[in-house]
Amino acid sequence: MDLRQLLANQLSRVWRYSWTLLGDEAHIQDMKRNTATSGVTVPPALEPLRLVDSQGGRVSTPPLPVPELDTLGALHRAMVIGRRFDRQASALARQGRLAVYPSSFGQEACQVGGVLALAEQDWLFPTYRDTVSLVTRGVDPVQALTLLRGDWHSGYDAHAHRCAPQCTPLATNASHAVGLTYAARQKRHQASVPAQASTAPSNSADPAEVEADTAALVLMGDGATSEGDAHEAYNFAAMWNAPVVFLIQNNQWAISVPVRKQSRAPTLAHKAMGYGIRGLHVDGNDAAAVYAAVSQALTEARAGEGPTIIEARTYRMDPHTNADAPQRYREPSDVERWQNHDPIDRLESLLRAEGQLDDAGRADLDATAEKLATRVREHMAQPDELDPNEILAHTYTHPSAMLREQQANLAAEIGEARA
């Protein structure tokens, strides 16, 4: 079908629609009701929204509000630090000092752009892929690697950072985010309505949050969108008008499976149409665009306009993890092609062209990044002090007699081994 035909179809099938064409009063009423409660019906753009092109030039008619220069600087800075961290972690994985490392090399614009758009009170829901997003969120880089080193399943304080543990079962954290924002809204509501006499202690969150509208950012991969859990979470978010942004990092691959084997929709953002919510398709290697899109979606969400699905087109430059064998399924030339779209280079060109960055500035930044990397490296060179008793310590708030007996057996065994 050519463009004209599509358009004609579109016009005749949909937009010529008007209430008066309908014959049946009952249907009219039902439909009015439906449409009143329903959301957005405009398909997302096929071309990804972009603010800065691959050469670092600003696009002539920006499709999203362009971030201020200092924001662009912050995005660049966080990407440089994030990448250095990522390269360090990859090296450690190759040396066997991490159990596994799923690199986000090439996806920095998504992780940094998404996280920097968050407000203090917002929550982040990252996956195994998103360790750079943790570091950007302010999680200590050593703690950020706890999962992947194999020390514990998560190493940072989720509540302190408003950052859920990294999620491995695909798409399963999306509904957590929806539920969390519901609880936050309830808290705010409780705080505004004088509560009935309450005898039970309420685990209430701190007052700052009770006041501000807590939103959430869910990071998910292109492959994860195929899971039933993604569908259910998108739909719950729509129904609850939840202030949640689902940022799909379409890095073109789910391990060895290309995105064209996950979906035949024109974009993954088209999924939004099925939930009556907004869908955006952005250039995932353009940190400014990701930041702007997520910011806008968060603003709308806080204004009560509900969730948004954002697809960010990017590329996984590294293997799925250090254990992967990408030569089995993709051409090195594919990867090389994407090097021309590097997210850091692009923003760096812009900042340099606009006099915001020079060699000295970059050297400073590199030194900072290197310090972080050194800290990580040094820490990982030492064996961690792990307490094996922990494996039975956290299952329940109040361990049963059976578990206490198991704890005692384990402790005895550990004691013997040490003796």
Binding site: H153, P169, T172, A183, Q186, S198, D229, H394, A401
Partner: protein, 353 residues
């Protein structure tokens, strides 16, 4: 004092919890305006509003997943799975998150969350509406799994579950929803991890829970005629297991039978039999027998009575407990009557399903 049904007691437990604690939120499929297909949530939307008791899209994984997120942030969600088999879509959320998040975060994220699941058969329902899924949950560390068998326990155990700091799978025997007791609420909330002796007896311990407690009690009555004085223990808490109460009973009686509706093979009764044997080996005069559902899918309504454990099957099991050998803790001699323990192969029994 008034006549209160099991369903009403559950309803009152939620209502009282919601009145007491604004963090409690109830949701699921048809729990709002309809009040749930069993009317267990009747009136909660009217009293507490759509924000605190409401209907969701039909998506069980989404229901449990959102509840996990709510619980992460200080809410105390109580979600309903409409029927046992319709909780399976949520299995990943239950097993990989609800059960593990506390451990994952070294205890810093706790999930005060109740998943209510109507379970079991004997209500004349078609396929998928009569599963007994306790075995799956009981085998999942991180979950607390409980099931009430009386109207009073329905109230007190649900209140305790809602107050519990960790995720509770709250299994409601469907066949008991309409059972009633004359009482007044609230009743004192008991500890959630205690079995209870429903009937004292000297000869044999009948271990049961939820849907089979009444059958066990009826069996105890009937077994008087057979000359057996049966002690009936209602386990109530499936995880954790109350070893103290059960071990004391079986060491006293020297024999035990465990019963449930779920299929026998690798079912919860296997755990009961195994641990009772471990804890009471030298007190046992006979192997712990299991009287459970057969190892087949739950049958259609018109045939379910052939599937379910009955008083007759329980009596048969009791009669097979090798009564020729009689030593128990109460007996004068600590030694077995050696000749009374024949080794003939045909005396060893298979599952009495």
């Amino acid at each position: 004092m008034s006549e209160i049904s099991f369903a009403e007691a559950l309803n009152a437990a939620m209502r009282d919890s919601m009145r007491e604690n604004p963090d409690v939120v109830v949701y699921g499929e048809d729990v709002g305006q309809l009040g749930g297909v069993f009317r267990v949530t009747d009136g909660l939307t009217a009293e507490f509003g759509e924000q605190r008791c409401f209907d969701t899209p039909i998506a069980e994984s989404g229901i449990v997943g959102t509840a996990i997120g709510m619980a992460m942030h200080g809410a105390r969600p109580v979600v309903e799975m409409q029927f046992d088999a319709f909780a399976y879509p949520a299995f990943e959320q239950v097993v990989s998150h609800a059960a593990k998040l506390r451990n994952r975060t070294r205890g810093s994220v706790t999930l005060p969350l109740v998943i209510r699941i109507p379970y079991g058969g004997a209500v004349g329902a078609v396929e998928h509406h009569s599963d007994s899924s306790e075995g799956y949950y009981a085998h999942t560390p991180g979950l607390t799994v409980v099931t009430p068998a009386t109207v009073a326990d329905a109230y007190s155990m649900l209140r305790a579950s809602i107050a519990h700091p960790d995720p509770v799978v709250f299994l409601e025997p469907k066949r008991l929803y309409r059972s009633t007791a004359t009482m007044s609420l609230p009743v004192t909330t008991e500890e959630l991890d205690r079995a209870v002796v429903r009937r004292e007896g000297r000869d044999v311990t009948l271990l049961c829970y939820g849907p089979t407690v009444d059958t066990a009690l009826a069996t105890a009555d009937a077994a008087m005629a057979d000359g057996y004085d049966v002690e009936v223990v209602d386990l109530r808490s499936l995880t954790p297991f109350d070893d103290a109460t059960v071990t004391a009973s079986v060491r006293k009686t020297g024999r035990a039978v465990v019963t449930h509706e779920a299929p026998s093979f690798a079912g919860y009764g296997a755990e009961v039999a195994a641990r009772v044997t471990e804890h009471c080996f030298h007190y046992l005069e006979a192997p712990v027998l299991r009287v459970a559902g057969y190892d087949a899918p739950y049958p259609p309504p018109l045939l379910e009575r052939y599937y379910l454990p009955t008083v007759d099957r329980l009596r048969t099991a009791l009669s097979r407990l090798q009564w020729e050998s009689q030593w128990t803790e109460n007996d004068p001699s600590p030694l077995r009557v050696a000749a009374a323990a024949p080794h003939a192969a045909n005396q060893d029994s298979g599952v009495v399903a």
